[in-house]
C-alpha cells in the first residue's frame, strides 16, 4: 500500500521533536479526525544574490521540527515536509504544495492524500505565526 519512501519516512522520521524557542509554530488537524500535526520553525537571515546580481537579505528556515499524532502517511508526510522546508527561504517554503510533498513521497494512496494537505497547511501556519509575531514586536 505504501511506497518505500513513505515507509522509510515513517520508520525513520526526520526532524522529530520540538524547538523550545521557536520563532513560529503551526498546528493543524484535531483529535476528532485523528491526525494532529505541530510544526516548529526557527528563522535566520542570510545574504543571497538576487536576480539582478545585487546582494539582498532574506529570511530562511534554519531549523524545523515536528510532532505528529496520526497514521503512517501523516507521519511520513510531516517528515518529508520538514525535509523540503529546511534551509528554504520563507518565500519558497510558503509555496510548498501538497503535491510537492506527495510527489517526493512517491505518491500516497488516494485515501491518504489528505495527509499531505495537512502537512502543507502546517508549514504555512507556522510561517503565518512567525509573521504575526514580527508584527507584534
Amino acid at each position: 500500500m505504501y511506497t518505500k519512501e513513505v515507509l522509510d519516512h515513517f520508520e525513520n522520521p526526520r526532524n522529530v521533536g520540538e524547538i523550545k524557542d521557536a520563532d513560529g509554530v503551526g498546528e493543524v488537524g484535531n483529535l476528532k479526525c485523528g491526525d494532529v500535526m505541530r510544526v516548529f520553525i526557527k528563522i535566520k537571515t542570510r545574504k543571497v544574490k538576487g536576480k539582478s546580481g545585487k546582494e539582498k537579505v532574506e529570511d530562511y528556515i534554519s531549523d524545523i521540527k515536528f510532532k505528529t499524532l496520526g497514521c503512517a502517511a501523516a507521519i511520513a508526510a510531516s517528515s518529508m515536509m520538514t525535509e523540503l522546508a529546511k534551509g528554504k527561504s520563507l518565500e519558497s517554503a510558503e509555496k510548498i504544495t501538497r503535491d510537492d510533498i506527495n510527489d517526493s513521497l512517491g505518491k500516497l494512496p488516494a485515501q491518504k492524500y489528505h495527509c499531505s494537505i495537512l502537512s502543507a497547511d502546517a508549514i504555512k501556519k507556522a510561517i503565518e505565526d512567525y509573521k504575526r509575531r514580527l508584527q507584534l514586536k
Partner: protein, 444 residues
C-alpha cells in the same frame, strides 16, 4: 517469528481441508445439476456437506442454503425476507411499510443492507444502541417492536469487540411478541390507540404468515467455533455463517432458513439450492466448509466440556476455549500495564479469542505497521485503517471517544497461537506505543 493475531479477519485454512478441496477439484469437477455420473459425484458431495451443516446447526438439510459467504448470507436473509414481504399480493393492496430492527454495531453487510432498504423506502428501520460495554439489552429491542415489525437482525458475536449478544433471550422475547400478536389479532398490545403505522394489514390478514410473525436473523459468523449454534437452542429463523472463520476456505458460507420462513432468492438463474440461490455450486468450497466443520466438532467431541457459568452460558467451554481464554486474559492484563490504555467491550460476555484495547495518543494504523515490522499481525478500528475518515462505527456506538478509538487495536486469537507469542506481543508493544507517543504533540 511471524505471529498471526487477526483470526476474526480470516483463519489459515486447515491443511487437511485444503488437501480435500484439491482432491474434489481434480476428481469431482462435474456440475452437480447434471444427470450423468460426473454430476452425481458432485451432487453426493453437496448432499453430504448439507447433512454435516444440518447436524452442526441441529436443523433439517433443506433448511441450509450454501452461499459465497457471510456477506451474501446476510444480504439474502434481509433483502430476501423484505422482498418476500413486498411480493405478497395482499401486502401490495395494503401498503404498510415493514419495520426492521437491527443494532448499531452490526457488520456492514447487515447495517448497510438495512440502510439501503430504508433509503429505497422499502422498510422503516430502528437501530438499537448497545450499552457502553457493547451488550444489547433485550428490553431495548422489545421497546422498538411495533405492529409492522417483521424482522429483527442481531449479530451473535461482535467482530470488533467480541461482545456476545443474548441471542436466545432475544428470540424468547420475539416469540412472546409473536404469541401476543396472534392473541391480539395482530397487535403488540390490545390497547386501542390510534396507530400511526397503518397496521391494518396485520389485522385483516391473519391467515398470512407476515400477519403474525416477527422473524429473527442472527449473523453468527464469529460464533461458530466457540458458542452454541444449534438453531433450536437459539430459537432463530435465520442464521449466517462463513467457512473461512473456522479454518475453512474463503468464498463459501451458508444461511440457515427455518422451514416456512418467507425468503425470495437474490441471485436469479438456475434452480440450485432449492431455488434459493442460483449458480453452479462451489463444490470444492462447500466440501472444504464441511470438512472444517467436522474438524471443529471433532475437537469438541475429543475434549471434556465443562459448564461455562451463568454469565456466558452459550460458551462451549472445552479445551480450546479454555486455552484461548487464558491467553486472552494474559494479553489484556499485560497490555493494561501500558499507561493510558483501555479495554473496549465487555470483559465477561466476550469471545474467548478477542482482545480490543485502545492507546491514547497513538494512532492505530501506525501501531499496526510497527507491529507488522516485528512480524505481528493485528487490526485496528482507527479511521486511517478503514479507508474512510471515520473511526470504527462499533466503538463510536458504544461511546468510545475519537481520541481513544483512533488508537484501537484488535488482537483475535486462534488455535495455533502459543503463550510464547502472547509474551512476545506484551514485550514488543510498550516500546511501539512509547515511540509513537514521543512523536505525538500530546505525548510525553
Amino acid at each position: 517469528m511471524k505471529i498471526y493475531l487477526d483470526h476474526s479477519a480470516t483463519t489459515p485454512p486447515d491443511p487437511e481441508v485444503a488437501l480435500l478441496m484439491n482432491k474434489v477439484q481434480k476428481e469431482f469437477w462435474g456440475n452437480a445439476s447434471s444427470a450423468h455420473s460426473f454430476g452425481l459425484g458432485a451432487r453426493n458431495i453437496l448432499n453430504e456437506a448439507r447433512d454435516t451443516v444440518a447436524f452442526s446447526l441441529n436443523c433439517q438439510p433443506e433448511e441450509v442454503i450454501f452461499t459465497s459467504g457471510g456477506s451474501e448470507s446476510n444480504n439474502l436473509a434481509i433483502k430476501g425476507l423484505i422482498d418476500a414481504y413486498h411480493s405478497n399480493t395482499d401486502q401490495k393492496n395494503n401498503r404498510a411499510t415493514p419495520h426492521v430492527i437491527t443494532s448499531a454495531v452490526e457488520h456492514h453487510s447487515v447495517l448497510d443492507t438495512v440502510k439501503e432498504l430504508e433509503k429505497q423506502g422499502l422498510i422503516e428501520a430502528s437501530y438499537v444502541t448497545p450499552q457502553k460495554n457493547g451488550v444489547i439489552r433485550v428490553e431495548d429491542i422489545d421497546a422498538e417492536i411495533k405492529d409492522n415489525t417483521v424482522l429483527v437482525s442481531i449479530m451473535y458475536v461482535n467482530n470488533e469487540i467480541g461482545t456476545v449478544q443474548p441471542i436466545k433471550q432475544i428470540a424468547q422475547m420475539i416469540a412472546k411478541n409473536n404469541e401476543l400478536r396472534i392473541m391480539n389479532n395482530g397487535k403488540k398490545s390490545n390497547v386501542t390507540e390510534p396507530n400511526k403505522h397503518n397496521s391494518s394489514f396485520f389485522i385483516h390478514n391473519s391467515g398470512n404468515k407476515f400477519a403474525k410473525q416477527i422473524y429473527f436473523h442472527t449473523d453468527a459468523v464469529q460464533a461458530m467455533e466457540y458458542f452454541q449454534t444449534g438453531v433450536r437452542y437459539l430459537g432463530v429463523d435465520l442464521l449466517t455463517f462463513s467457512a473461512h472463520k473456522f479454518y475453512g476456505p474463503k468464498g463459501v458460507g451458508a444461511l440457515f432458513v427455518k422451514n416456512g420462513t418467507p425468503i425470495i432468492r437474490q441471485i436469479v438463474g438456475g434452480n440450485q439450492e432449492n431455488k434459493m440461490r442460483a449458480g453452479t455450486e462451489n463444490v470444492a468450497g462447500i466440501a472444504g466448509l464441511s470438512a472444517a466443520l467436522v474438524k471443529m466438532h471433532k475437537a469438541k467431541a475429543d475434549s471434556k466440556i465443562e459448564e461455562s457459568g451463568k454469565l456466558l452460558p452459550e460458551l462451549i467451554l472445552y479445551d480450546e476455549t479454555k486455552r484461548l481464554k487464558q491467553l486472552r486474559d494474559k494479553l489484556i492484563k499485560g497490555l493494561m500495564k501500558i499507561p493510558d490504555t483501555r479495554v473496549n467491550g465487555c470483559l465477561k460476555r466476550r469471545s474467548p479469542n478477542n482482545v480490543n484495547v485502545s492507546f491514547k495518543n497513538a494512532e492505530g494504523e501506525s501501531i499496526l505497521l510497527m507491529l507488522d515490522k516485528e512480524g505481528i499481525a493485528a487490526s485496528s478500528g482507527s479511521a486511517c485503517t478503514s479507508g474512510s475518515l471515520e473511526p470504527s462505527h462499533v466503538l463510536t456506538a458504544i461511546g468510545v471517544s475519537p481520541e481513544w478509538s483512533h488508537g484501537s487495536i484488535r488482537f483475535s486469537l486462534g488455535k495455533h497461537n502459543t503463550e510464547e507469542e502472547i509474551d512476545r506481543v506484551i514485550e514488543i508493544l510498550p516500546g511501539i506505543i512509547k515511540k509513537l507517543r514521543q512523536m505525538s504533540p500530546y505525548g510525553k
